[in-house]
Symmetry: C2
Subunit: 195 residues, 2 copies
Amino acid sequence: MSQNTKENILNATYILIAEQGIQKASFAQIAKAVGISKPSIYYYFESKDDLIRELFDYFCKEIQFNNYFRIEDFTAENFVDKLVNIGVQMIQDQKQDPYFDNVMKEFLSLAARDKYYHDHLLEIQSFYLKGFVELLLKASSLSLITEEAIEEKAHILALVLDNIGNLIMENETINYKGIWITVVKLVFSKGDLSE
Amino acid sequence: MSQNTKENILNATYILIAEQGIQKASFAQIAKAVGISKPSIYYYFESKDDLIRELFDYFCKEIQFNNYFRIEDFTAENFVDKLVNIGVQMIQDQKQDPYFDNVMKEFLSLAARDKYYHDHLLEIQSFYLKGFVELLLKASSLSLITEEAIEEKAHILALVLDNIGNLIMENETINYKGIWITVVKLVFSKGDLSE
DNA sequence: GTCTATAGGCTGATAGAC
DNA sequence: GTCTATCAGCCTATAGAC
């Protein structure tokens, strides 16, 4: 049952972090949720920090830019559609996991005070910013978009996609999909940005 | 010294929350930072929850939409410039307070589990979303912008402005001002959004 | 691998003197 | 208003039996 118990601990911790925050998610509660005794957790994890960190490492792998966007798949024919669809898919993926938003907020708050978490989240965010720049440069090379303010446009896409998930708003009140479609269209519109 | 001590407690708590998070910002640390004894805090605040909540209430007042945007001040002549300038001002205000981002993250994580915090932050966010819609409707009535996807455009502005502050990125690496100017220009560009 | 028992520290909070 | 002394409760973590 070894591998199973370890997974059960990680799953229970994930849910408890979402529901109560990292600090209040104690070994006592985790053990109770899994159905084992408190010290048994120490067989699998050296410390609470170790447990949280392993959960975080797994979490980080799930949200990489490259998991969603493969730049080589974008062509002149499918570019805007593909961009819209992947964004919609990301938003739906995250909304489908009811714990994701809260866990993310916990890790963000931890990152504010702990270099390990800060550096890893910074790297992920950096990949998104750079990834969107690379994507728009490809769009430019395919003559789908002007080169004007291309870095800013890429960062706008990254900011909007990132923050749609962070909204406190209930899903019914706000048109996530419409917002994403509109921002993509704006970035790809032929309009002139000069005053 | 009554009023002064209370303010000192609130200020010390604000900084400690930013540096260590709400849970680790204990009465022992707050008392030490202020230079008083632990039980003295109870003369001013019924409980730790009470102290955090009072800090939060003050925090909320500072970040209201109406503190920054007064719709009646926007005219056909100054509209885009004013929108750009206020956004830049907001970003600079928040960057100038080194504790603001971290405290915000703490309250966001608390809001995930506590109805009081959730409801108040939701109301503030709701005001921003509605406020930008109102603002763009005025722009539309002034013929500065088409009515097309006006709600989505307003929400894009709100999302970008909100998230610029949440970026983990260092200030030098990312062109906050340029991003805001570009998204405002995109929203106000005459381009056609249809396929 | 999993358990019981327990150590030692920090927490929020109270009693009561001045 | 501010203090010292103190409490019960929870926390992470360890010792050691099975």
